[in-house]
Symmetry: C2
Subunit: 262 residues, 2 copies
Amino acid sequence: MPPLSSGLLGALDPTSDRAVFRQIADQLREAIDRGRFKEGEKLPSEAELVEHYGVSRMTVRNSFSVLQGEGLVHAEHGKGVFVRPRPPVRRLASDRFARRHREQGKSAFIVEADAAGSHPQVDSLEVKEEKASQDVSTRLGSVRRVLARRRRYLLDGRPVEFATSYLPLDIARGTPIAEPNPGPGGIYARLEELGHRLDHFEEEIRARMPSPAEVKTLHLASGVPVIHLIRTAYDTEGRAVEVCDTVMAADAYVLSYQLPAT
Amino acid sequence: MPPLSSGLLGALDPTSDRAVFRQIADQLREAIDRGRFKEGEKLPSEAELVEHYGVSRMTVRNSFSVLQGEGLVHAEHGKGVFVRPRPPVRRLASDRFARRHREQGKSAFIVEADAAGSHPQVDSLEVKEEKASQDVSTRLGSVRRVLARRRRYLLDGRPVEFATSYLPLDIARGTPIAEPNPGPGGIYARLEELGHRLDHFEEEIRARMPSPAEVKTLHLASGVPVIHLIRTAYDTEGRAVEVCDTVMAADAYVLSYQLPAT
DNA sequence: CTTGCCCACTCGTCTATACGAGTATGCCTG
DNA sequence: CAGGCATACTCGTATAGACGAGTGGGCAAG
């Protein structure tokens, strides 16, 4: 094992009351922030850091786990610990549901990703009737059963979003909305054809750490939160006609909204 | 030490290839989800779990660190490990900057928190001129120096948000905006009085894990992400007159937006 | 009764060791 | 030359032990 090139990392301060593993994490974090280790680059191995700092391996691993929790690095078994590259982000503009975007045949996700030069995919298609959860029922106005449309979105092979749309059965049953592929313009175009002219949407946004199931579905690295978005679509009569529950890998998204100043 | 009451937690499956510390974490998580341990309640101590499962202490600690990373529990030195209570959330509605909300003397934050029965505070007031960062400069239209207004918001003593407003010097210098207390209705009211009638706001939203500095400022528990919001205010002439950079404790906020369907 | 100390219990940090499993490389064999 | 295997390196999991430091309760002294 070659010695760790000096200069990259400093020494420990034994007089400090800051824990050793925190000092090591601090030095690694600073080196990353300063660009001494670039995105995707490999950090020194555990053994090298044990050697360099003269500490035990568990202490070094503890440092790494701090940085992992911050989403700064990720470990790959058998290979090393790497600076986590920031993935290309998908920007969601507040006009993304404007009627003019529903003209074309493809879904908004596909069109937009193609334009950005990414390879989009949609996945895990499931359409079925089911009992409405308490929350969905409340949002849709005391509906007992709903049509649920589940799908997962991928960009360049990486899953980035998992979404479920819920619609009242009296609106969706027996229509193209209940088909796996609802046709050009998606379910919003179909809703309008069925006489439910859309008036506005309401979106609620939260951020939190993912559940184990979400980690699995979205292949999330540790230290990556999710954005949880719940959108309710209202028609011109004020009726809630759809609730869409979306969980997004937070490192892959920037949401953008316009607010009037009135 | 009394034996751990049976029934709460099961046994390990030695034939499973799932790591022991994950199995323990799974059982604790499930027990929490099922409400066997309620919010704020103390989990079994490390020693009790060591006893119950017949594993070493580091293995138990490893399990706890998994749950901490998920934001499910938090440890208190000398006391124990507790189910993290969900704090009351602050809902930000999309009309929160409507002109009618600027009539009263107090800031929107104070009024709203009072109405919700919480005790609000504003803190860390700093107002100074400084060099604009690359990003702020771009958003404000190639401005070199700006007036920066920093403040921290607390609810019932807990810091929940840290915000910095940046304004071009030619607008803000020498006006009440450059004072620590800009007066009733806040800086948006002052901007309009100065002839910059506000037209709309643009908000960009990201979620990520906090930096160590943010953990300190917002007293964040591990496993709590932050919502990073960047708002740009435009006047009726299309000029960007303010950029507000806000970092919020994600467990304390729900953002809400209305989108037109046009 | 009140004060203060001690002790038991809690989590925090660190060491040293062991074995397992995934990855990559280079050498050796066919 | 091609294929496969050995090996060295990586991180993952787990044990056992030690000491430190924060917390809270009980006991003893005043």
